[in-house]
């Protein structure tokens, strides 16, 4: 006897939506609307006081966005989700729900540059400090925990260096300390890894990337695993103590495995308002329908690309957890059995100038500040995504000036290779080409 609950591909098409409640519309409708009628005064009061479910105002929730939230939640195996205007706003909302002024976070050092800046420069303005730890330094995460630490945050596969954080072991450290582990799983999508199955408590995504795959819309999401016991210690009074904003409600007592998301919506969306536009939610839903198909091709193209680059005489080094000799290969095979994703970092011989020449001379691969598009993307992180870092921070984050970040797309592999050959040819004569 086996449960007949729907599986991954079916959920990616159907979860969170019932046509019978939407005029029989097979496709999810776009509720391009701001506000929703109350039945009467009693109904309005009940909605405002979280006594019953429903929509009030699209800053808090919207029917189209709700489908996206439930769908991603189902795919991740979570209990609740909250979509936001971007991946960065999902991270900010998560930290602002988790922390108060005077609190501290332990954070992996290998992150998207914007996330580094958030923890290094912006959160201190709110009195929230961070200790950065290199992703492979598992013991370092433990040592960095202070009495006021409220969580550990990291990308499972770090951007852009592709170093893996040992999620199961770091999760054990977080559990021992009574704090949640938050994983930015943008690179993996739930197709490659469901972090809750490896000990994460909260997951954030930039849905702008592989989850949509079409490069059309900004979106982010926070997903709760329902695994963390907020009442196990006194570290999270805003979750466990009566909350003045809702007549003394204790989110942990009332909502248990969905308490964090409920609070993030009730407080964070109410007060900060980083809501997702329904049109963007709809665009992301379209992408999600083909998530499995796309991720399979992303990964197979990436594997071929790793082999091609590893054997190329213009390439100094290649970093991808599938590559022979990669320090995290064994861990990746355990946590990411379906594939290690389509992000590759490689060093080009000739350093920064060769890198610039390469990027200026590829035509099919797009030079831009995004990853996870269906199209192949390239960038030189030290001069773009991570350019706001000083030399020491760049080094600590595992970046070098010869590094090119490659997001492998879904094109025919041979076409990507032909394009790269043009780039490498130009990179061998960088001054000549760069100045033309």
């Amino acid at each position: 006897m086996d449960p007949k609950t729907y599986k991954f591909d079916t959920l990616s098409l159907h979860a969170g939506y019932q046509p019978s409640k939407n005029a029989g519309s097979r496709q999810v409708p776009i509720y391009q609307t701001t506000s929703y009628m109350f039945d009467d005064v009693d109904h309005a009061a009940a909605l405002f006081n979280l006594e019953r479910g429903g929509h009030i105002y699209s800053r808090m929730s919207n029917p189209t966005v709700q489908v996206l939230e439930e769908r991603v939640c189902a795919l991740e195996g979570g209990t609740a989700a909250l979509a936001t205007a971007s991946g960065m706003s999902a991270i900010f909302l998560t930290i602002m729900t988790l922390c108060n002024a005077g609190d501290h976070m332990v954070v992996s050092s290998q992150l998207y540059g914007g996330t580094v800046n958030l923890f290094r420069l912006t959160l201190p303005k709110f009195g929230i400090k961070t200790t950065f730890v290199k992703p492979r330094d598992t013991e370092g995460f433990k040592k960095a925990i202070q009495p006021n630490t409220k969580g550990i945050f990291g990308e499972l596969v770090g951007n852009p260096g592709n170093e893996l954080m040992n999620m199961p072991e770091v999760s054990n450290i977080a559990k021992e300390a009574g704090i949640p582990l938050i994983i930015d799983s943008t690179y993996q999508t739930p197709y490659l890894c469901r972090p809750f199955e490896h000990g994460a408590d909260l997951v954030v995504h930039s849905l702008t990337k592989w989850m949509s795959g079409n490069g059309s819309s900004m979106a982010g999401i926070l997903v709760e695993g329902g695994t963390f016991d907020w009442m196990q210690n006194d570290k999270f009074p805003s979750m466990t103590e009566p909350y003045e904003g809702y007549h003394g409600l204790s989110f942990a007592e009332e909502f248990g495995p969905t308490a964090f998301t409920m609070m993030a919506r009730a407080e964070g969306m109410r007060d900060m308002g980083p809501c997702l536009a329904p049109q963007n939610a709809w665009n992301i839903l379209h992408g999600l329908e083909t998530l499995s198909l796309r991720m399979e091709k992303h990964c197979s193209n990436a594997l071929k690309m790793v082999e091609y680059l590893s054997n190329h005489d213009s390439v100094a080094w290649v970093s991808h957890a599938s590559a022979p000799g990669h320090p995290d290969k064994e861990l990746a095979e355990k946590i990411l059995p379906k594939g290690t994703g389509s992000m590759i970092a490689f060093g080009i011989k000739g350093g920064k100038e060769a890198g610039a020449a390469f990027i200026n001379n590829v035509k099919l691969a797009s030079h831009l500040a995004n990853v996870g598009d269906a199209r192949t993307l390239v960038i030189h992180p030290a001069s773009a995504t991570h350019s706001q870092m000083d030399e020491a921070t760049l080094k600590f984050a595992g970046l070098s000036h010869d590094m090119i970040r490659l997001s492998v797309g879904l094109e025919d592999f041979e076409d990507i290779v032909n394009d790269f050959e043009d780039g490498f040819r130009a990179a061998k004569k960088p001054r000549l080409v760069a100045n033309k």
Partner: protein, 272 residues
Amino acid sequence: MKFKVRGTDTFASTGGRPFDKNKPLIIFVHGSGLSHMVWVLQTRYFAFRGYSVLAVDLPGHGLSSGESLKTIEEMGNWVGDVIGAVGCKEASLVGHSQGCLVTMECVAQHPEKIKTLTLMGGASAIPMNPELLKLAEESNPKAVDLMMDFAHGPAGHFGGHPVPGLYHLNVGSMIVQNKEIKDTLGVDFRACDNYKNGPEIAKKLDLPTLSILGAQDRMCRLKDGKILADYIKGSEVKIIEDCGHMMLLEEADQTLEILKKFIAEHYPLPSK
């Protein structure tokens, strides 16, 4: 809030309002392996409208201490003791699934204390599938997956939770899995399987009773819910179409509306 029942720490959600023993009391009793958290879309409404609400965690469940009670009879008696433990003399009861058996037993053992009875997804007997029972008693997570599968109707399997962003199959699953499965779900399933007094007790009930049934319920099938309602003198029956066993979450709004009307008619607030 936390209070003592028979000397053991017991937790009950009060729906977000301070408990007041002078207000009419409604006690909500959860189903197998679950906790007070399944009732949030019913309890807060009544708590903010003049009632005192206790969505109890049975012993060993949710935030309550102690070991799970082994029989439906013990659980029914325990719910009766809750009323006195909080300084009240009477209450209305609302039960879901196993909670229906428990609340019927409570009425049978403490008839003077109970004013109305609401049974959601109930049946006069809940015999367990032997394989499911074995899995639960072995703490196998597959038991929870099977329970969530059976507990939700076809529409519920797609989601569409009344609270934006919640995916209720996983919410129920996590509530159960936050405890050792064999100590809660396993014990509860065995208690349900062993319980045979349902029909006889139902025939003796003599108080306003409401049955809320899901047309697509696969845990306690609609026909079994109707049979139970037929046993109870004057029982009111409301059927929610396109809904499974978890009507309190799957169709929370409809469930609340039906419950509101019944409580207003049979257990109204005292006039000022």
